[in-house]
Symmetry: C2
Subunit: 663 residues, 2 copies
């Protein structure tokens, strides 16, 4: 890229002199006088083309050089003089220029008379993606030449005047929806990638969605939009927080993962209802495909319970949902965490299709099959299955092998496959081991029919559920790859998952508890007394919002009493409560009952528009590895510049050790 | 503070056991069942108090425990059963509880019958700032007991049921508007400070203003709200940018001072109209009273000229201006940079009062007064004055001395004071030196009348103008301290300053030019040719928006041609253009003419509400020195935690040198 830039600069430099005259003359065509105490119609001074069509006072063309956008002219406009601005999509036969802006395309007719020779020459000389202003008259296209696939396809504009704003170089890729570009090229030339109609649509849909959300929260429900700091104190052990050195030696701000503490403090402050479209930061280091900064729809309410928050969110999504995506129904379905794990093996079930987990433990209670009996003999052991309709018919040998491979490599589990043949007989290594009655019970219990595939696993509930939950999704992908329509992209299944456990055993120290979500979540009222006796049994007033199997939000009712919060921090989580003393003090200063939620805006929009990555709904995302490829961030900074922050780089030694400095 | 936190924790711990029973029992009063596939009126499950008043479906009390806010009950509501939630403002005579929420106060009448003994006991036991829910009946206050100063002063609510959500400790200060608190106490207990009615008003007014701005830009004028990254590449020489270490050794992101590059790239991308309420960062190190993060109303438009941007901003402010602050008139007054410097001695004139700079050079062309003649003999030399009406009458000796002191210490200049006595004679050291005709010409030219004060300075134009511009403001302060009303706080004078020079001589290398604003500003069309011949004479298409003498915004039409941008960077500014190669490439790829502006939201709101500091319109501002006093940010981070970022702290040695590591 360095060579490339150098090349570009050299070329530009050589053009500097050559084009100087041309640039000057064309610049003068948009000159404007100094207008002090300017008259009311100031835009009249923006140009002195002979063919001025005034811009409207509102709408997307207000106060602009143009009178209309490239997407809005129709037969009604025939005979009008209009001014359009935009990019040259392409030229056709020296007869037409197709002009594009964010709103669409318009066909410009190049005059062919000899008297318009200069105009014709300018237009025919244009390179693709050059930027022009054209004034002309709207005409009906000759009969038979209409383009029904183009909203402006009934008309064309006969050019009478043109101003060339900028001539485009030959670009690294064409701005056409059907031109495939590599991800890295799209990122490097993001400003070109964003010209595509689908990226324009995504950004505009996102903007409109957020606007509607604000209207609902602010105007309909009295929320206050409050900005909270992003330069904050580091959370103890906050391994995922970026640090920001200050000019005081050794002291760092940190970029918070969410405004959690601030939103709670705002409730203590009596703000009553807070929301913010909040920028959040998470440093996931080497994890691929994570954005280091992302956006949350963050809200918090006082004097409200879980059902109140859930209703606000349902109303919010229903109100802001784009009309073009069809209406959504509220209230959303609700499921307990236990049900989700039992039926789907995950806490964010994709409820667009069934294929639920089926417990077969009873079927095999007295089995003689060794590995099944062994699994059931342990406490918490089980035998479970997923039935894939049509799986026996559709899955190839490779598909089956891949499913088994996932079980082995990702879960360290053996999987038993049972294929039900068209004639109802089974094909399976298990076949010989199962008694007739077991076989019958198996088919009965799973509802497996000829052509279906059963995935069976035995072991501890904590392993078997996630395993089958994951394979259920993998099998859905396989079915769809064979043409079965399981999950309509235009269908949106919202689901609340509730009644999560409040604490979980720590992975490395299972006798110790840690918060399942965060230490501020309140217990279910009926479980509160267990905080003091059996904290591992306490369920929290936490709720996750799931859309099509993706978690798009999570929230909770918070602990609002200092003594309860202190008990959780000190006695249950065994954390040093002095690190959160400001929050404890706040709760002790008249804190109202409160709760809230945060929705992941990037994820929500990406599901809404059917994008494969959240990068497609962010204007300038970081790459897979957290880089801004266009500007080369993150970048090297000189030792000198770091001095004022009292830090220096520890360059890794060749052995990979740290600590030694060098350059 | 450490001792304090420890004390708090000990107290809380001791209360844990004592209150456990009470907490449990009161928690159970707001228990709720698990509701799956919840019924429509879910909020009914939020409480099972006997006296339930349903919350409305929209407005600030929707989906809440309350039926009304504390500010909304009037005589119309008499007889209604209502539920209020809020903070105990104070108790009066064991008869009344005054309950507060964000919207106001309501008087709760404590029942005195013996049968309500328990209720009375609970209410009379409440500490100030405790949080309760009260259900009761709205009653007309007895005749003569109405409080006309209180919007709800005609009614009171007879308590029938109470739930205590939280008991407040004794707070470090009372939540009363007349209670003066130190700035550091306000910052440390920000969540209490925000309970004051004026902070509640400020935050809400800010939220409503921003909402109106969004409506105007998005809904009326077709802008797209686009979020731009805050983890970006460091600008070369960007001494004011915070750095953020990444996990790649030696590589840093940087927190940008504004989305300047991104907004221009969005125009190249064809987004057409962009806006964002953008968080910006500026590390001004030791400068006091700057916020390291602040908020801009940032916008950019394609196919538009300077008058278009100015009109959009005028429309934006007119549309969003709070009704309670009175209407504002558009278009705003416009003044050239040269006029501003000539008449007011600053580029952000406070036009709410006159006292303009008066040039007296002609008066003294043939003077014999040595220091005046000497000043005029130099090229660019001048004699100028400011006439302070009533100054001779009102200014004390101390006032006059302070004005002279400012001239001396801040500008290294001597000032001549001329007081016009009531009888029209002068009192001044100059008096003896001036001829009768000079004296007459001086009074004529300045229009000084008996009782007025003249401040005269002689020297170079570049020193005299800023000197008198600054003293003009100081004298206005003095006049106001003596009761003269010069600048009504409720009057808003907007002013555009235009036609700034595009380049200025560098302070340390005056033969070299630097950008007056930034290198992307386009020249005035009529000055464009001077870029190639006399760049120091070029005026830019830059505009500053000034409100009551404060700069609240600035913007420009940008250079949209790569060759012109390259010429400015390379030949005029002598910067390495390869550092901005991505922008140059973008301009060369079909960039439309475009321009924009950024308004300082914090400053704008603070002037609007008459706050003395922007800290009063930010929910959680940093202190004077950039600290978050409540949470103690920035804070120490362990060497271990810094390892993953490949940095280590350079602790300063006792001699104040850097570089040596230690702990």
């Amino acid at each position: 890229m360095a060579t490339k830039s150098r090349f570009l600069l050299l070329r530009l430099l050589s053009e500097l002199r050559a084009h100087a005259g041309w640039y000057r003359s064309s610049a003068s065509t948009s000159s404007q006088g100094r207008v002090l105490w300017r008259p009311h119609l100031r835009h009249l001074s923006c140009s002195h083309t002979l063919y001025k069509s005034p811009s409207p006072s509102t709408g997307p063309s207000s106060l602009s050089f143009r009178s209309h956008t490239c997407g809005e002219l129709r037969s009604d406009h025939v005979g009008h003089t209009v001014t359009l601005c935009g990019w040259v999509q392409y030229l056709r036969n020296d007869l037409f220029v197709i002009l594009r802006d964010f709103s669409g395309l318009t066909q410009i007719l190049i005059p062919q008379e000899e008297s318009a020779g200069h105009l014709k020459a300018v237009l025919c000389d244009l390179t693709a993606e050059s930027v022009i202003k054209v004034t002309g008259t709207v005409r009906q296209r000759p009969a038979g030449q209409e383009n029904k696939g183009m909203p402006t396809g009934d008309i064309e504009v006969l050019a009478e005047n043109v101003e060339v704003f900028n001539v485009s170089r030959k670009l690294p890729f064409e701005i056409k929806d059907f031109v495939k570009k590599s991800e890295s090229l799209r990122m490097q030339y993001r400003y070109l990638d964003l010209r595509s109609s689908h990226m324009q649509r995504n950004l505009r849909l996102r903007s409109e969605l957020v606007m509607r959300m604000r209207e609902f929260l602010c105007n309909v429900h009295g929320f206050v939009d409050v900005e909270t700091p992003t330069l904050f104190k580091r959370t103890p052990g906050g391994a995922k927080e970026f640090v920001v050195p200050s000019r005081e030696p050794g002291r760092f701000y940190s970029l918070p993962q969410s405004p959690q503490q601030f939103k709670q403090l705002l409730m203590v402050a009596g703000v009553d209802r807070y929301f913010q479209i909040a920028r959040c930061y998470r440093d996931e280091g080497s994890k691929p495909d994570r954005q280091p900064e992302f956006t949350q729809v963050d809200l918090e309410m006082s004097f409200v319970d879980q059902t109140g928050i859930m209703s606000i969110v349902e109303g919010l999504l229903q109100y802001s949902w784009p009309a073009e995506k069809g209406p959504i129904k509220v209230p959303f379905r609700t499921m307990t965490h236990e049900e989700a794990m039992r039926d789907y093996g995950v806490d964010k079930p994709d409820t667009r299709f069934s294929m639920k987990l089926i417990d077969l433990s009873e079927v095999f209670l007295s089995t003689e099959v060794e590995f099944l009996r062994s699994a059931l003999s342990h406490p918490g052991g089980c035998v479970q299955a997923v039935c894939v309709p049509g799986g026996a018919k559709l899955f190839t040998g490779k598909d089956l092998e891949e499913v088994k491979q996932t079980a082995r490599t990702q879960f360290g589990q053996e999987l038993s496959l049972v294929l039900v043949r068209a004639d109802g007989t089974l094909k399976s290594p298990l076949k010989k081991l199962l008694s007739v009655s077991s076989t019958e019970a198996l088919l009965n219990r799973t509802g497996a029919k000829p052509g279906d595939l059963l995935l069976m696993a035995a072991g501890s509930l904590h392993t078997v559920r996630p395993l089958l939950g994951s394979l259920r999704l993998q099998c859905a992908d396989v079915l769809e790859s064979h043409g079965v329509s399981l999950r309509e992209p235009s269908v949106f299944h919202f689901l609340w998952v509730v009644d999560f456990p409040l604490f979980l055993p720590k992975e490395d120290e299972p006798e110790q508890l840690e918060s399942a979500h965060h230490p501020f979540t309140a217990p279910l009222p009926e479980d509160t007394h267990l905080l003091y006796t059996e904290p591992h049994k306490v369920r929290g007033q936490h709720y996750d919002l799931v859309l099509n199997g993706c978690e798009i939000g999570g929230g909770s009712i918070r602990i609002h009493r200092a003594s309860e919060q202190l008990h959780v921090l000190k006695n249950i989580l065994r954390e040093d409560p002095s690190l959160l003393s400001h929050l404890l003090e706040a709760l002790d200063s008249g804190a109202p009952p409160h709760g809230g939620i945060a929705l992941g805006l990037d994820r929500l929009v990406s599901i809404m528009v059917g994008a494969s990555s959240i990068r497609d709904v962010i204007a300038f995302p970081k790459s897979f590895r957290g880089h801004d490829i266009m500007s080369c961030a993150p970048d090297l900074v000189s030792e000198e510049e770091l001095k004022s922050y009292h830090i220096s780089v520890r360059w890794p030694t060749e052995q990979g050790g740290g600590g030694e400095e060098g350059k």
